[in-house]
Amino acid sequence: MPDEQTLIRDAQLGDREAFRRLVECARVNVYRLAYDLTSNQHDAEDLSQEVFIKAYRALGTFRGDAKWSSWLYRITVNTFYDFARSGMKKTIYYSDNQEHNSEENEILKQRDSISPDASAEAAIIQEHIEEALNRLSPRERSVFVLRHYHDCSLKQIAGMLEISDGTVKTLLFRAIQKLQQALEFYRNDFVVKRI
């Protein structure tokens, strides 16, 4: 299989198959970021589809000075901002209880050692974590998920979103404070073992 740079170059020259391969390699990470930003499976699918369409249209502008994945992440975040402005807000701020519970139960049922009570508690915590994330502004959320769930450094995030390091730190600080307030209940009553 050709390397990423070759695929990008071929795709820029019009090779549709090369672009398809790039999409196939990147779709999992793009979808995960989209889901982290939207907390909704359908919105995440729509968002990631839109990301790849935009990426195709913008292929000519990709010069290789940034990583391909960073470039896709940037498109993802910007597309998320557009979606948030255009009205996807309702979906973002709505916690799809049924979906989360069914997903959560599916995973937890596979663990023989987890008791029904524990699985119910875990599902509730997950739901509240999603609700806490939904309290963040689009900018705070994008900075937080990129740092916390996608392991992007503060500097990388600053470059990706074209903001200063200071702004990244401020947004992240604010995001963590908001999450802290939203999850106050859990911090007091549930012990989280730190590795």
């Binding site: 889901y35 502008t61 557009d82 963590i176 859990y186 911090r187």
Partner: protein, 270 residues
């Protein structure tokens, strides 16, 4: 390190992005400050809780369907020129243009149009001073400006003729005559422009005066460089006979009485 500095470093510390020196100072502050220490611990716990969030799963089997949808969209907007930078430009910013932006764009276009018009098609210069204007071309100037121009013309003519009348024949030098002839030729050139602007019935008298002046000025302009006594005398007799200077005075007084704001013309305000 104070509490404010500690707070600013907290995020970098939480994610192990601070350098060694900063870390040491930060930890030393936490050891001595209960408030910052509690805040740091609280944020740490929150992040640990957020780490328990389940990762989303993506159904790999759906890729074929997803790719078909993407391909369909791409084909819709595709052109033959894959490498065209114009084609490949996308809006990394919101694709929706707010309504107010159209208004701003329209105003900008109008402003640019006005600027181009003023730059490349400037106002035509004053007709009397620059070019002869025909009756069909010239736009009637406001009355006050016409009167001012005419009076200025008459004032210059009067000064010239007074110079002629007050110079004794014996004192007439070639230089003096040459100068007077130059001025008279300029005034003759302007006479036709001045007469053209006098179109109203009540301006016909002053138009006649300008015509009379024209004759005198022509005589003066045509005198030979080395004047004989007779030539200048003819000019002087003409001025006396036609009472040119008197008539100019009358017109000046009339104009000033009708429009007091009109400045009394002198040779300086031409």
């Amino acid at each position: 390190m104070n509490c404010k500095q500690c707070q600013e470093l907290m995020v970098a510390q939480l994610y192990d992005e601070a350098d060694e020196n900063t870390r040491t100072e930060f930890q030393a502050h936490l050891d001595s400050c209960a408030h910052c220490s509690a805040q740091y611990e609280s944020m740490r716990t929150t992040l640990d809780l957020m780490s328990t969030r389940k990762q989303s799963t993506l159904d790999e089997s759906l890729f074929a369907t997803q790719w078909k949808r993407i391909e369909r969209q791409i084909a819709k907007n595709d052109t033959n020129d894959y490498s065209s930078p114009t084609r490949n430009k996308i809006l990394m910013f919101p694709t929706r243009i707010p309504a107010w932006a159209y208004g701003v764009a329209a105003m900008l276009l109008i402003a640019v149009g006005i600027f181009i018009g003023k730059t490349f098609w400037p106002q035509p210069p004053d007709i009397v001073q620059q070019q002869p204007a025909t009756a069909s071309q010239s736009t009637p100037a406001p009355d006050d400006s016409v009167t001012t121009r005419v009076l200025a013309y008459l004032g210059t003519s009067k000064n010239l003729l007074l110079g002629v009348m007050n110079t004794e024949n014996a004192d007439y030098s070639t230089a003096t005559l040459e100068h007077q002839q130059r001025v008279s030729r300029q005034l003759i050139q302007q006479a036709s422009y001045v007469k053209t602007s006098l179109t109203r019935p009540d301006q016909q008298q002053i138009k006649q005066l300008v015509s009379d002046l024209e004759v005198i000025l022509l005589q003066l302009a045509n005198i030979e460089v080395k004047p004989g006594v007779g030539a200048i005398e003819i000019v002087k007799n003409g001025v006396d006979k036609k009472s040119i200077i008197l008539k100019i005075n009358v017109e000046e007084i009339r104009a000033i009485s009708q429009s007091p704001e009109i400045e009394k013309p002198t040779s300086h305000n031409l």
